[in-house]
Amino acid sequence: MDISTVSGPQARTLPVSRSPRGAQQGKKTTGLSGFSRQRIRTAWLFLLPMILGLACVAGWPLLRTFYLGFTDSSLSNLDGANFIGFENYLVYDQGEWYGILADSLWWRAVGNTVYITLLSVSLETVLGVLVALILHAKFPGRGLVRAAILIPWAIPTVVSAKMWGWMLHDQYGVINDLLMSLHLISSPVAWTVNPDTVLGTIVAVDVWKTTPFMALLTLAALQMLPKDCYEAARVDGIHPIKVFFKVTLPLIKPALVVAVVFRMLDALRIFDLIYILTSNSEDTMSISIYARQQLIDFQQVGYGSAASTLVFLLVFGLTLGYIFATRLKFDGSGDH
């Protein structure tokens, strides 16, 4: 990028012309320089639309959910709801524990969700990077291939889950048919029912669906990498695999970590895939399905909101843990 394009006729002089280093040093010194203050003011101005939007539109539903979790609100008595403290979460009454935390099904859902998330996110990260590396290479027709790999992500989950359900059908599914004709299995497997295969099946379909997401983000990171590192490495005759682990991976790591964070957020809240693909029994219960069941199917608005709040806390805890474990820097200054 040629900087001279910027300092064209429109370029204005800054009110306070100081060394831009001041921006970085300003934080450490006690008194902020005028320039930094100006910059920070601009920053807040830039942040304002986002903050306002999030606070007004998302803030209310979230706070409402949080509040309802402490009430006994239900569909038929939305006005007459009482504040009941933590009773939706845990309460001891007449010799028995009640509440979400005393519900074995909730803990089962937590187990399933964490299992699916771990397996699915790690698989799709590895696969996604591999796919991105393939797409990053120059070969004829790669534009088409790039478009093609996006297909799984582009088909609405409602549809793709049904499609997979159809392909995995125990009697008519094309998957069983293929595996039988390859003599890999001797009798048809009920993939979406059998407790031994059902979680694996969910993970497989989820990986199929979300690998493009990882691949696309990784590809964007690869494309923004400075080219000279590679050239230097190539000149030095270093093995490509070594280049990948020593040069490429560290450079795309921030983008990769963020991509994984968002995949985690989605995987931990996995809902429609399981809901449509499987029989929806306790074997495949996820925490989001648990919350939805209480909120919509059982009309227990209070209890369901409490469950949603727990989902939030769990997701928040795990994501935060991950972010700190990977030492994702929030105040990285842009130096490689």
């Binding site: 964007a220 921030p254 842009g334």
Partner: protein, 275 residues
């Protein structure tokens, strides 16, 4: 010897590409085959090329209008959320101020509740703003729920841009807005296109808000329209028309990727980063 090694490398690479293609496209292929069949036939090869399912999708409901609505909502969402996200992530990535980390984490919190939990609150809000049964309600909710993702991704990528570019511009007296539009945007093309594409697909495919906030056929979006495709009876699943509709709505997305492919490449050559 070296030529042979290169040759095997190429063959292996081609095989990898092929495997990748089969893996991603196979289910879509099944969808196309199913959509071209009248009855409930076998699925490996299309036995007949019957476009009846495609015709029926358009005949039974205002599907053109639904596609138009979806396109309107998705483009609106992408435009607004990118605009907000680009400015916000510039502030988050390039300016030091207290509370940055907290702000980023708070933004992330929006994507941590189960979607269904925010539905009732959003419903009330939409009615309060008078946006019920109006596409604006969808643009508003999709924008807000795609912001955390866009902001985080763009912040990460912006942080990766070398400092010297910006510093030189500041010395030359460029305003922050000029820095964003003249320096960062060209370099950020791949990230912008990717983020925009993902936000677009998210808006294009969303179902739960779409079915709750919109009540009339003429305002509905594509996923809801697909869910309205019905079989001959209460329980029957009309696979043919559903698959036809899915193929119809996936094709624009593929075209979109193909169009923006070139943008990614152009953006790269125009703004090649020198680290």
């Amino acid at each position: 010897m070296k030529a042979l090694k290169r040759r095997t490398g190429q063959v292996l690479f081609a095989l990898a590409v092929l495997a990748l293609l089969i893996y991603t496209i196979f289910p879509f292929y099944i969808a196309i085959v199913t959509s071209l069949q009248g009855g409930e036939g076998s699925f490996y090869l299309p036995q007949d090329f019957d476009f009846g399912n495609y015709v029926s999708v358009f005949r039974e409901q205002p599907f053109f209008l639904n596609i138009l609505n979806s396109a309107l909502v998705s483009f609106g969402t992408v435009a607004i959320s990118l605009l907000i996200a680009v400015t916000a992530s510039y502030a988050l990535a390039r300016v030091h101020f207290r509370g940055r980390t907290t702000l980023l984490l708070t933004v992330l919190g929006v994507s941590m509740f189960p979607q269904v939990a925010v539905l009732s609150g959003m419903f009330e809000l939409v009615r309060l703003l008078g946006l019920y049964n109006n596409l604006g309600s969808l643009v508003l909710s999709y924008t807000v729920f795609s912001l955390p993702f866009s902001v985080w991704i763009l912040t990460t990528f912006m942080r990766g841009i070398p400092k010297d570019l910006e510093e030189a511009a500041i010395v030359d007296g460029a305003t922050p807005w000029q820095i964003i539009t003249r320096i960062f945007m060209p370099v950020l093309w791949p990230a912008l296109v990717t983020t925009g594409l993902l936000a677009f697909i998210g808006a294009w495919n969303e179902f739960m808000f779409a079915i709750t906030f919109i009540l009339s056929n003429e305002q509905r979006t594509v996923p809801v329209a697909i869910s309205m495709i019905s079989g001959g009876s209460q329980y029957e699943m009309p696979w043919g028309p559903i698959m036809a509709a899915s193929v119809i709505v996936t094709v624009p997305l593929i075209l979109l990727v193909l169009v923006f492919q070139r943008k990614i490449v152009e953006g790269l050559t125009a703004g090649a980063v020198k680290g």
